[in-house]
């Protein structure tokens, strides 16, 4: 990829891309401040942030994104356990992601209309956008992955290695793209004498941050994923057309990004067939999206009118944004209102919630230290509580009130 020496302040498209990414970050911050806590975030908070350090270090679960959990622990020890404080590490990851996206696209496209279109795709792709505002390790890992890619262009190998190692520590599913990027860089640039700089810092950082909890992992912990390749790719890329475009771009470009994507998919296949690990599903394959977008950008940079379809795709992404809820956890979008309602109407009533809602509601109960309210428990249909929170209508229950857009309803037993 050629380096651009033009000062960015005198390049209109580069400036507009920067403004677009700034707006994207403002959007992430606004969402982080306004979205209700999601089930997975609540589980992270109660299992890997609020417990003592020893418990955090000696517990393993697929939900435990180590580096992210440690950062959350540090941040919440200063700012408390409120949702926004919990999401600060993810926002830092998002900032790193956007800055790295700007650097990468600038190097890739220069001052051309393709650059803001690519930036918009990277910032607002529906498969990515939710994670930048949620307290999960994906944002941090994505930021570090793109930072490593940007630093590769600068040939700062220790930084590349460290960023990839930290990305893996932030989310273990990034181990495949990280390893393949290092392998591809080593192979294609013939960096044999720099192998230690490119491998050691990241490997050591990931080892130190991960090894203690990973030693407590069992095979049963690796449960989340898709059963077959096509379902997996559909959940990751959302639209089958994207997959075809990526394939075409890879065949056309045949560079490092294409090789990285191919080797990553080969690694996933090997893990699936040799170890029985599931294929990535949605967020566990999230790293494929920015790699694919960059690959599309790289392939289309040679085509004169490439900005048009890319801009159209970006507009489509912007049009499909759902600011008030997240695609994967739509049922969680009213958790804050549900809890406020419960607090005002049923302050001392036993409450049960359908899984996985009880995690988020119990998080709010603990956050507001509502000691008068009994703990919100998992709903047992055979023994419902006085007030029950359901994901969908159920003939066994009488609806009391309903919340939108989650569709969650409060209900009492019918008899």
């Amino acid at each position: 990829m050629p380096r651009i020496s033009l000062p960015w302040t005198r390049a209109p498209w580069i400036k507009s891309a920067a403004a677009l990414l700034g707006a994207a970050f403002a959007y992430y911050v606004w969402r982080a401040a306004t979205l209700s806590i999601t089930t997975d975030e609540a589980f992270t908070a109660t299992s890997f942030v609020t417990p003592p350090w020893l418990q955090i270090l000696t517990t393993y679960d697929a939900n435990h994104h180590f580096l992210h959990s440690y950062l959350c622990k540090l941040v919440t020890s200063v700012f408390g356990i409120a949702p926004f404080a919990l999401r600060i590490p993810a926002l830092l990851g998002a900032a790193l992601y956007l800055w790295s996206a700007w650097r990468l696209t600038r190097t890739l496209c220069g001052d051309s209309p393709v650059m803001p279109a690519l930036c918009a795709l990277l910032a607002f792709h529906p498969g990515l956008v939710d994670y930048f505002s949620l307290a999960r390790g994906y944002s941090l890992a994505l930021g570090l992955l793109l930072y490593a890619l940007a630093e590769t262009n600068e040939q700062r190998w220790r930084r590349v290695s460290l960023a990839l190692g930290l990305a893996v520590a932030a989310n273990a599913v990034f181990i495949l793209p990280a390893a393949t990027w290092i392998a591809v860089t080593l192979l294609t640039r013939r960096l044999w004498n720099q192998a230690d700089s490119l491998i050691a810092p990241g490997a050591v950082a990931a080892f130190i941050l991960m090894i203690v909890p990973v030693t407590h992992a069992t095979e049963a912990n690796f449960y989340f994923g898709a059963g077959d390749f096509l379902t997996s790719m559909q959940t990751v890329f959302l639209y089958p057309l994207t997959l075809l475009l990526v394939l075409a771009a890879a065949l056309y470009e045949r560079g490092r990004l294409a090789l990285t994507l191919a080797l990553t998919l080969a690694g996933l296949a090997a893990l699936h067939f040799a170890k029985g690990l599931p294929w990535p599903q949605g967020r566990t394959g999230v790293y494929l999206i920015p790699l694919a977008i960059l690959l599309l950008g790289q392939a289309s940079a040679r085509w004169r009118w490439s900005a048009l379809p890319l801009a159209a795709a970006a507009v489509f992404c912007l049009a499909t944004l759902t600011p008030t809820y997240t695609r994967e956890w739509q049922f969680d979008s009213n958790n804050r209102e549900v809890f406020a309602y419960l607090q005002s109407h049923y302050p001392t009533t036993p409450i049960a919630a359908e899984p996985p809602l009880f995690n988020s509601l119990e998080y709010y109960r603990r956050l507001h230290a509502v000691t008068a309210m009994p703990p919100i428990v998992k709903l047992d249909p055979a023994h419902p509580a006085a007030v029950n929170i359901l994901l969908a209508p159920n003939p066994q229950f009488r609806e009391l009130t309903r919340f939108q857009p989650s569709g969650v309803l409060l209900a009492a037993p019918a008899k």
Binding site: L57, D196, V204, I208
Partner: protein, 509 residues
């Protein structure tokens, strides 16, 4: 006071290396001298025992004389020119190694943590100190000398000295091959290894063995590199001494970094890491710091002090000549009574009552009645006894028969000893020495047609144990044996003579 013995070893080694005009770098002299002096000190202890001077005062006097001689001959070891460690790296090395040595020493001065079952050297040294045994030219000689200073408590501090010695030997080796900072950091990586930290606080002899073995290899390498064939003399001494120590065993967690490998691999792995990361000193430093932090509580629970309660129980409740079979190892250094956990004896006891091991079945194998010189029995379950018949009359066993275990556990001869409680899980090959004729083989054991277990199996097991010198059995309430032994003590021919906490002591009538 016992670490003074290390000073004696250092002085002896210094003198020995000086005698042979060995040429070493300044920082190579100290660990090499301590390593070479260790077998010589063991020999000195044997000499003092021979001269009936094996007491604290002669040991101190000998140490003083040796240190004086070494000071007098301090230039005996020739110096090879080498650049000194840069001052900041030297400071890092000094602070790191002194700190780690102080930590190891602090742990070594605490309660004994040597696990029962891994304390053979310690137990043997205790016996030597009490005059119940003679020392050999191995670690028992060193540890029994340590006993002269402050009993049991004197041994771990002496062993702890070998941790910095090993680290310095490793550093000296690496300095010839790696940049100074990488060599120092790799040394700290080695010294922080949880296995070595744990060994340094125990009374085993693992670090002595490792120092001797490593120094032998290192000096052999130096002999070639610096063209000093004279160095092969100390190499030979160290190699022989290391061979004498080779069965020290020992088990310790390798920690998070080396945990997938046996502790012996820690040293070569640390060297490999140092080589691979020689241009990445921050990585080496981070690994060493992490390894040390992770080996401390609360991530790693502290080693538990060795329980001496059972040892004291045996001491008070068994006679001096007693030999106890114990279900779990007993801290041998803390009692004068002998004990064993031989699993073969447990098998004998279990075969008397355990449904899966009782010889209650018989296989009858009919063969063509011809003259044969050899016969083979396939591996099938536990074989208690094998008998050959001709026309329903048993062939008398003959001392000329040669029996071999072809595949499996235990000696095949146990299937020919007329004891139903002994046997083997094996395939057996029999050479009759001369042609014999038989038409049937009866194999009693755990396979074949059920014929019922012979009567008096429990008593037979007790007699077998007695025949092997066992006088007592120590069983724990949560163990596999206690319930059976206490319920049917009269059938076993056992009598419970005492109990302490959950341990019950039975005597064989």
């Amino acid at each position: 006071m016992s670490p003074l013995l290390a000073l004696a070893a250092l002085a002896l080694g210094w003198l020995a290396l000086g005698v042979f005009h060995i040429k070493l770098r300044a920082d190579e002299r100290w660990p090499a001298a301590l390593a070479v002096g260790t077998p010589l000190l063991a020999a000195l202890v044997l000499l003092l025992v021979k001269l009936h001077l094996f007491r604290r005062t002669p040991l101190l006097a000998a140490t003083a004389v040796l240190v004086g001689l070494a000071l007098w001959r301090r230039r005996g070891i020739l110096l090879e020119d080498a650049p000194p460690l840069p001052r900041p790296i030297l400071t890092l090395c000094a602070i790191g190694l002194l700190g780690l040595s102080a930590w190891a020493g602090y742990n070594a001065f605490g309660p004994d943590t040597t696990p029962p079952g891994e304390d053979q050297t310690f137990a043997a040294a205790a016996q030597i100190f009490r005059g119940a045994a003679k020392p050999h030219w191995d670690a028992t000689a060193l540890w029994s000398a340590a006993f002269q200073f402050n009993g049991h408590a004197a041994v771990p501090p002496l062993h702890a000295v070998y941790l910095p010695a090993l680290a310095l030997a490793f550093l000296a080796f690496l300095r010839r091959h790696l940049p100074p900072l990488a060599a120092v950091l790799a040394t700290l990586l080695l010294a922080t290894a949880p296995a070595f930290q744990l060994f340094a606080a125990r009374s085993g002899a693992q670090l002595v063995w490792l120092l001797c073995l490593f120094t032998a290899l290192w000096l052999a390498h130096l002999a070639g590199r610096t063209s000093q064939p004279r160095l092969l003399l100390p190499v030979l001494l160290l190699a022989v001494f290391a061979a004498k120590l080779h069965s020290i065993g020992g088990d310790a967690p390798g920690g998070y970094l080396f945990g997938w490998f046996p502790w012996l691999a820690t040293l070569p792995l640390a060297a490999l890491l140092a080589w691979a990361l020689q241009r990445q000193p921050l990585c080496l430093a981070a690994l060493a710091a992490f390894q040390f932090a992770a080996s401390l509580p609360p991530l790693t629970p502290p080693p538990q002090p060795t329980s001496q309660e059972t040892a004291r129980f045996l001491e008070s409740d068994t006679p001096a000549h007693a030999l106890t079979w114990a279900e779990h190892p007993v801290a041998g250094a803390w009692t004068t009574r002998r004990s064993t956990t031989d699993p073969a004896l447990l098998l004998i006891l279990q075969s008397a009552w355990d449904e899966n091991l009782r010889p209650a079945r018989q296989r009858r194998q009919f063969v063509t009645s011809t003259l044969r010189r050899t016969f083979f029995i396939e591996h099938s379950g536990r074989i208690a006894e094998v008998r050959f018949y001709r026309n329903d009359v048993e062939l008398p066993r003959n001392p000329a028969w040669r029996v071999r275990n072809l595949d499996g556990e235990a000696a095949a001869t146990l299937a020919f000893d007329n004891s139903p409680v002994t046997g083997c899980h094996c395939a057996i090959g029999i050479d009759f020495g001369a042609p014999v004729e038989f038409d049937e083989v009866r194999i009693s054991g755990t396979e074949g047609e059920y014929i019922g277990a012979p009567k008096g199996l429990r008593r037979a097991a007790t007699l077998e144990l007695k025949r092997r010198g066992i006088t007592h059995i120590l069983a724990w309430e949560k163990g596999t044996l206690y319930g059976e032994l206490s319920r049917n003590a009269q059938y076993w021919g056992l009598r419970e003579v005492g109990s302490r906490d959950a341990a019950h002591l039975f005597t064989l009538d």
